[in-house]
Amino acid sequence: MIVVWFLIKEGFKGLVRSKFAGAFTILIVWITLTILGLGYIIGRDTINAVNSLKAQFDINIFIRESASQEKIQDFADHLKALEEVEDFTFISKDKAAQKFQKEFGKDIYSVLDYNPLPPSFNLQLKPIYRNLASVESITSDLSEFSVIDEIKYKKNFLVMLEKYQRVILYIITGAFLLLCFISIILISNTIKMAIFSRRNTISTLKLIGATNNFIRAPFIIEGVLQGFLGASLASGMIYGLAYLLNNHLQSVVQYTVELNLPIFAVIVSFGSVMGLLGSIRAIRKFL
């Protein structure tokens, strides 16, 4: 017990003894995890932005002039029952006229004394069905209905979005994984470097009979502390940056960062675990 207590104290003292090397480890963890955290937030928000763009995708279903009110109602009921449909609105002939006015700058009644525009449904699909395959199968199913004259949707928009969404998702995920990998490499090598600069201490301790565990314990405690401190600084930094953005730079960037506790918990745990594993791995090299 007394030795355990001694080793814990040694771990804390190591923070000071390692001098520049220890401070450098903390700095590296700090910087790395700050980047990792910001990378995660930026990636998350970019993906969200793309998804909200995709939310603008809709399908227009034009109804035959001749369709009876009843048949239209039947069709609406069918739409309501569809698994894939998130929401839909009925655009009556009147509403279509308003839309015409917007698109072509003319009141249809000033040109004609009746309204030639057909009524239609505007349909939003659930996010997971907003892809070409689903849309095509749904529209081909719907076009069986006799009330329907024609179904229109922005196929190009969908194709483009699908393509870019995939690119963006791949790039962001790839970049994030790469960043994680690099962080791990960086932190563990920095710890190795810091321990390398004290290899004489290690070899002397071995020579005077210290067991590997006796030598290792303080270094590991020190590594965890460094990881913890670096990660805490990173959390503080991310919080600070987000606070700055949300409260003082709103007018400039008009972008709000949402933060929640789990992000910080993950960062601090990641830092500490990296400190733990990094120092275990590093010390093995010099034992």
Binding site: F6, T204, I208, G209, T211
Partner: protein, 220 residues
Amino acid sequence: MINFQNVACTFGSQDAGVKNINLNIGEDDFVFLVGPNGAGKSTLLRLIYMDCLPDDGLVQIKNYRSDKIREKDIPKLRRQIGMIFQDFKLLDDRNVYQNVAISLYISHHKTRKIKNEVHEKLNQLNLGHRVHYKPDNLSGGEKQMVAIARALIKDPIVILADEPTGDLDPRASIEVIDQLHKINQENKAVIVATHDYNLVKRVPDARIISLKDGQITSMI
């Protein structure tokens, strides 16, 4: 207790280390290891605390055999040996007290006792006024004294002292050798590698082993 059978350890070189060493040191022997520079004295001591293992032959210390020892038994062996290194090997980032105390923590002593013991030993070796100094701020002789304190404090079964008085003034040298002598009389083996024949004379009942070019040339 310490037994060398036809030991060689030559670091892959023709003219380095030691070879053909046959040696038997008893539990209460006081041994002087003498010989010119590069004769192999330090190497012989390193073989005892198993910092190098023999290329050939067998070193046996108590029931630790160089051919069968497992990695994790080496610390156990070393904890029973008090070593004074020729180049001191102090821990630069710790002060004098910590350098000595760590020896006791390694051997699992009780904290309260550690504090008292360390201070007592440091006072006894005239280092009482240097307790909080880092090695870098010590004089050469003071450093050597700290190295000696670290070895003596842990109550080992054998003490290996490699040139322990090279930086000490004559009075301190005699004090150290007298202490080693006293420890030896408590039935502990002491092996001292030295160039200082005044020391050798000071322990009349000591054995003297002469080395040259890595081989034993005479043994009393």
